[in-house]
Every structure is written in C-alpha cells, then in structure tokens.
Symmetry: D2
Subunit: 112 residues, 4 copies
C-alpha cells in the first residue's frame, strides 16, 4: 500500500493534479466510484451477484481498484494509517456487535 501511495503521489504530481485533490474532492470521487461499483449489482438478485460473468467480474474488479486508489490517496492527504484504522475499527465493532447477541440478525447496533 505504501507503494501504491507513492505511485499515486507521482501520478498526481506529473499531471499537476494536487490542486484538485482536496480531501473534500477525494471523498466525493471515492463516493462516485463506490456508486459505479454498486451499479453493476443494482438489478441483480443477491444470488446472481455471487456468480458474475467474467466480463462483469473484470469491470467490478476495476471499480474496486478505483475505490481503493481514492481511499489510499485520501489517507495520504489526511495522514491516516488505513490498516491500523481498520484493525481498530474491527475491535470497536466486536464490542458494538457482541456475537452472542446479534447472531443471525442485521439490526443497527442502536436497536439492540
């Protein structure tokens, strides 16, 4: 991920794009990419979404890459360590959603 971060830095520098890469704009772009990812699934059933045809899967993989790239870029700008943040979030969620209590249910934690 360090490597990707550095490539993205160079990519932006070579194109003079840092001026556009405010956290606000990157968060918007990330959200747009996440929606493009969702678009591939919007009319499928859950079951169909588990067995995408090869061309759809390749397109989905590309959108996932875009999401990750904007996320890494945003993390770079905000000086966030993504992997550390994610590990801490899992720990938080384990407290928010005790396995014994939420088993097989997807209610919001505030509803337990």
């Amino acid at each position: 991920m360090i490597e990707l971060r550095d490539k993205l830095r160079q990519f932006a520098a070579e194109r003079d794009w840092d001026q556009f890469h405010t956290p606000k704009n990157l968060a918007a772009a990330l959200s747009v990419e996440a929606a493009e990812l969702l678009e591939h699934f919007q009319w499928l059933t859950g079951e169909q979404s588990t067995r995408l045809p090869a061309d759809q899967r390749a397109a989905v993989r590309d959108e996932m890459a875009d999401v990750l790239l904007y996320l890494i870029r945003l993390a770079d700008k905000l000086e966030v360590d993504l992997l550390e943040a994610a590990a801490q979030k899992i720990a938080k969620n384990a407290i928010k959603y005790p396995a014994g209590q939420v088993r097989g249910s997807m209610k919001k934690y505030s509803d337990y």
Copy 2:
C-alpha cells in the same frame, strides 16, 4: 490486508452474517459508508477540508476504515486481489491520462 480479511471472515462467521454478505449487499454497504465519509465534508470548502479539527478527523478516519473493511470483504467474496487490481488500474490510467496532455486539467478522458 490478509490479516484483516481473516479477521472479517471470523467476525462474520461468529455472527452468522455470511448469509447477508452477498456481493450485492456488500457493494451497497460500501457505497453507504463512502457517503457517510463524504457527509463530513459536504458543507466545507476545499480549503477547510485540509485542516479538520481533531474530533472530525477521528470520525473521518473511522469512516475510511469502514470503507476499507467492506472493500476487503467484497474482494474476499469475489476472489479479487485488491493490491494487484489497484496496481494494474494505475497502469491503465497512465495510458488513459497521458501526463503531457492532461496537465492541470480534470476533464474526463473521453473529452481529450
């Protein structure tokens, strides 16, 4: 990231949540988290978004973690290697947006 993937697998298994984690649902959840991230920036200027107060920054960091976690979970379900996909996407983008041609401009590649 392998470690996070494994923790997420265990997290879902302990809660019997795999039944909800279809690619379709995970893509929707990812998109919702990306919007929650954007929400923190929606009324800020670009400049303000570069200097978030500490509590805002912590909240933003948490939302970024959520995005990454759903992305890793989706990648697991679709058997996508995220880092490889991202590296290949940067290479593609370098061709789509030649540095010499797009310098300082953010038009869509189809407009060049």
Copy 3:
C-alpha cells in the same frame, strides 16, 4: 413543488445558509441523503424490501423527503424545471430502451 421551492428559499435565507448551498455542495448532500435511504434496504432481500415494518417505512419516507428537498433546492440554484426535465427524460429512455427489444431484461442500453 413551487411551494416547496419557496419554503426552502425562505428556510435558507432565515439561516444565512445560501453561502453553503453551491450546486456542488447540494449535489454532495443529495448523494448523502440517497445513501441514507439505501442504508435502510442494504441487508434486506428484495422481497423483504416490499413489506417494511411501519417504523422503517416512516424512516424511509423521511429520507425520500430529504432527497426531494435537496433536488428541488439544486434545481432552483441551476434554474432547472424538474418536471419538464423528467418528462423529456422518459421520452429519451423510450427511444434508448425500445419495449420490444429489452422486454424482461435489464442490460445497459449500450449492450443491446
């Protein structure tokens, strides 16, 4: 809708919020509200989403109202006649998706 537009104008004026209501910010806010709407459905099956419990339905109705309000506000700022634009879009879609050709299928028009 004219009435809602006027109420929203007054609402913003009384709070000195016009400074925040750039088209860019309103589009971001609209997108965030649309995601909050989606959040209510993210773990449901399609079938479950057709029979929401009363409290869920009320919450969904509120999110739909938020989407409409930001859409009207954005239309006001961009001087777009929403109903006219929507009627024209239906006409366009009828050409893009000829009933005889797309019957029972949800592929993108570019795939026909």
Copy 4:
C-alpha cells in the same frame, strides 16, 4: 407528478421491468444516479459549480431527471406521497434547526 408516476408505471409494464423494481433495487438505482449527478461537480470549486458551461448543465439536468424518476417510482411502490412527506420534513427541520440558533453555521443538529 401523478402524470410522471403513471408514465413510469406504463414504461415498466411494457418492458416487464416490475420484477426488477423492488424498493431495494430502486433505492440502489437512485443512489447511483445521485452519484452520477455528483460526478459532474467532483473536481469543481463551489464557485465554478455555479456557472456550468451549457453542455455540462444539460448533462446535469438529465441526471437530476433520473433522480426524480427513480424517486417517484420508489414512492409509487412504497405508497408514499412525496410532496406531503417533503412539506412535513421542512416543518420538522424548522424545529431541529431553529433559525436564531444555527444562523450561518452548518453543524449537525446533534452538535447544537
């Protein structure tokens, strides 16, 4: 809006698309359209977003129409009166955000 609702009903019926139009799928599609709308603004400054070139403005108008159409379709499926819901939401917001208290500030209501 009644007219648009009826046209959309006919449009879906002629294409046998009701099977795809679950509230869940419509909410996802609405969210995707809202993101496509946002995409036009993602790299602009707030100020630039107030003076779109004509072709951009036409594209934005089309995306706004898509958002409205999916919203009307979803409201039809959930039997929600959109205009009534929106009017009630403005009244709620007036209580949540008292003009005297929030003047010139965009904090979340829970932060007041």
